[in-house]
C-alpha cells in the first residue's frame, strides 16, 4: 500500500499500520472531541473502539477517513501523514480503506450490483473483471442471488452485507466499520461480526467502532475504550467497560 506524500517519512515498527500521535480534535463548539489520543494499530489486528455517544468514536473515524484534520497531533497510516495529504490525494488514500457505516450508505436507486461495482469503477477496473469480481464478492457475503435488487428491497442485515461487499471488493488493507450493527437485530449483528472475523483472518486490519456491549464481549478482541475524548483503556481480548 502506498499513498500520500512522503516528504517527512517517519519510521515506525514494520507492523504498525495506523498511528495516532497525541491527537486532539476540537470543534468550534468548544470542548475537544478527542484530547491527546495516542493509539497504535498493527497490520492484521481486529480492534473494537468503544464508548458511549459523544465519547469521540465518530470523530476518530472521520479523522481516519481524512474527512477531518486534527487540531493538534498527527495521524499516520502506513507511514503517510494524513494532515499533509493534498485534497486531490484524498480519494486515492480512501481507496485503501474499506468503509462500512451504521446507515449502510448505499445509493438507493442503484442495484446491489451497481453499488458494489462502483467501488471498482472508480479505480478504473476493466468491465470484464468487474463482471467477474462483483458476483464473487456477493457470494462471499451471501447475496449472490440478489444482485438485481435495489437496497430498499433488502433487509437491514442484507444492506449491511452489500456495504461490506462494496468496502471489500478492492481488497483494502484496512476495513473501517462505524457502528456496523447499530441498525441490526442481534442475529444479523452476530452474522455481520462473524463475517468481519473471517475478513480479518484473511489478513485485513479491521477497526470496528461500536457501543454494542454484547458483541464486544462475545468477540474477545482488542478493545480500546474512549471516554470524553480520551482513551481510558486498551486491552487485548478485552470486554466492554461500562461508564459507571
Amino acid at each position: 500500500m502506498a499513498f500520500g506524500r512522503r516528504k517527512k517519512v517517519k519510521t515506525f515498527a514494520e507492523d504498525e499500520l495506523i498511528v495516532f500521535e497525541n491527537v486532539t480534535k476540537t470543534y468550534s463548539t468548544g470542548a475537544p472531541a478527542l484530547n491527546g489520543v495516542n493509539l497504535k494499530i498493527k497490520k492484521g489486528e481486529f480492534v473494537f473502539i468503544v464508548g458511549d455517544s459523544g465519547s469521540g468514536k465518530s470523530t476518530l473515524i472521520k479523522l481516519l477517513l481524512r474527512e477531518l484534520i486534527p487540531t493538534d497531533g498527527e495521524i499516520y497510516v502506513n507511514g503517510a501523514r494524513l494532515s499533509k495529504l493534498r485534497r486531490r490525494q484524498v480519494p486515492k488514500y480512501r481507496r485503501n480503506l474499506g468503509v462500512v457505516f451504521q446507515d449502510f450508505r448505499l445509493i438507493k436507486n442503484w442495484s446491489v450490483y451497481e453499488n458494489v461495482a462502483f467501488a471498482q469503477r472508480i479505480v478504473q477496473t476493466p468491465n470484464r473483471l468487474i463482471k467477474r469480481n462483483v458476483p464473487a464478492i456477493l457470494s462471499i457475503v451471501g447475496l449472490a442471488s440478489k444482485y438485481k435488487a435495489k437496497p430498499v428491497q433488502l433487509s437491514g442485515g442484507e444492506q449491511q452485507r452489500v456495504a461490506m461487499a462494496r468496502a471489500l471488493i478492492n481488497k483494502p488493507p484496512i476495513l473501517l466499520c462505524d457502528e456496523p450493527t447499530g441498525n441490526l437485530d442481534p442475529k444479523n449483528s452476530l452474522e455481520i461480526m462473524k463475517l468481519l472475523d473471517q475478513i480479518n483472518k484473511r489478513g485485513t486490519t479491521v477497526i470496528v467502532v461500536t457501543h454494542d456491549k454484547e458483541i464486544v464481549n462475545e468477540m474477545q478482541k482488542r478493545v480500546v475504550t474512549v471516554r470524553k475524548g480520551v482513551i481510558v483503556s486498551d486491552e487485548e481480548k478485552g470486554g466492554y467497560i461500562d461508564e459507571d
Partner: protein, 300 residues
C-alpha cells in the same frame, strides 16, 4: 481516462435522467419555458428588424444636377460612378429627364399632359440613391451637396430619423429583454438544478467516501445536465417551428392592408440563428449549473 470509464460516464448521465425522472422533467420544463419565451421574442425582434430594414431599403436620396452637367453624359456618368462607390450607398438608379417627365405625367397629369410639346422637366435628370443603412444619410447628403455640378439634393430627414430611431429602439429593447429573460432563465434553472443536486447530496457523499475523485463524481452530472439542457432547448425550437407559419398566416389574414409593409422572414432564416443560439444557451446553462452546484457538495 479509460474508454470503458468514458462510456460508463455517458451511460450514467443518461441513466440519471430516467432515475430522477421527476427532477429531469422539472428541469426540462423550466429550460423549455424560458427558451420558448426567448425564442418567441427572438423571432419577433428579427421580424421587426427585417420590416425596418425593408422600409429603409425603399428610402432614396434624389440628387439633381446643373444644366451643364445634365447636358454632359460623360460627366453625369462619372458623378454616378463616384456616388455608387460610396460606403453608404447600396445602389443607384439613373432617371433621365425624359423618364422623369414620363413618370410625372403618369403619376399626376394623365390625359392633361397632351398640351405640353416640350419636356418641362428638361433639367431634371437625376440619380435615386438607395442606402445600405439609413443612419448614413446625413453624411451622404453632406457629401452630395459638396459635389460640383449638383444643383439640389432631395431627402427626408423625418423618415431617416424615424427609421433610425426605430432601429435603435429595437436594438436597445431587444438587448434589455433578452438580458432579463436570460437572467430569469439562469435563476430558475439554477434553482431547479440546485434542488436536484441537493436531493443527491447523500449520493455524492457516498461516492466520495468510497474514494471517487471529483471528476468521477461530477462527470455523470455534467453529462446529465448537458442532455437536459439540450432537450430543454430542442423542445421550444420544435414548438416555434411548428407554430411559426400558422401564426404568420393568422397575422397576415387579420391585417391584409399591411401585407405590403409586413414582410415576414421565413422560419429557415430565423432558425439559422435561433437553433445554434438556443442549443448553446441550453447546453451552457446545463453545464454551468451542474459544475457550480455539484462543487458545493464535493468537499466530503
Amino acid at each position: 481516462m479509460r474508454i470503458s470509464s468514458f462510456f460508463y460516464t455517458i451511460k450514467q448521465g443518461i441513466k440519471n435522467i430516467f432515475r430522477n425522472a421527476l427532477f429531469s422533467l422539472a428541469s426540462i420544463a423550466t429550460i423549455s419555458s424560458c427558451l420558448l419565451l426567448f425564442g418567441i421574442f427572438f423571432a419577433v425582434i428579427m421580424n421587426f428588424q427585417n420590416i425596418v430594414k425593408t422600409a429603409e431599403e425603399g428610402v432614396a436620396v434624389t440628387v439633381f444636377f446643373t444644366d451643364e452637367v445634365c447636358a454632359d453624359d460623360t460627366r453625369m456618368k462619372e458623378i454616378g460612378d463616384i456616388i455608387a462607390s460610396r460606403a453608404e450607398v447600396s445602389r443607384i438608379v439613373f432617371v433621365s429627364a425624359d423618364q422623369a417627365w414620363e413618370d410625372f405625367k403618369e403619376d399626376y397629369l394623365g390625359e392633361y399632359s397632351e398640351g405640353f410639346t416640350e419636356n418641362p422637366l428638361a433639367g431634371s435628370a437625376n440619380y435615386q440613391i438607395y442606402l445600405k443603412d439609413i443612419a448614413g444619410q446625413d453624411s451622404l447628403v453632406a457629401y452630395l451637396k459638396s459635389v460640383p455640378g449638383v444643383r439640389e439634393v432631395n431627402y427626408s430627414q423625418v423618415t431617416a430619423d424615424a427609421l433610425s430611431g426605430a432601429n435603435n429602439m429595437i436594438s436597445y429593447v431587444s438587448i434589455g429583454i433578452i438580458g432579463i429573460l436570460l437572467a430569469v432563465s439562469i435563476f430558475l434553472i439554477s434553482n431547479t438544478v440546485m434542488m436536484g443536486i441537493s436531493i443527491r447530496k447523500e449520493e455524492i457523499g457516498i461516492m466520495k467516501y468510497v474514494g471517487a475523485t471529483d471528476f468521477f463524481v461530477r462527470a455523470p452530472f455534467v453529462v446529465e445536465s448537458l442532455l437536459i439542457g439540450l432537450i430543454g432547448a430542442a423542445i421550444p425550437i420544435g414548438i416555434i417551428n411548428f407554430v411559426y407559419d400558422k401564426a404568420l398566416g393568422i397575422v397576415q389574414g387579420k391585417f391584409t392592408v399591411l401585407n405590403d409593409i409586413l414582410k415576414f422572414l421565413p422560419i429557415e432564416t430565423i432558425n439559422h440563428t435561433l437553433i445554434p443560439l438556443s442549443l448553446a444557451i441550453g447546453a451552457g446553462i446545463g453545464f454551468l449549473g451542474s459544475i457550480v452546484t455539484v462543487r458545493k457538495h464535493l468537499k466530503v
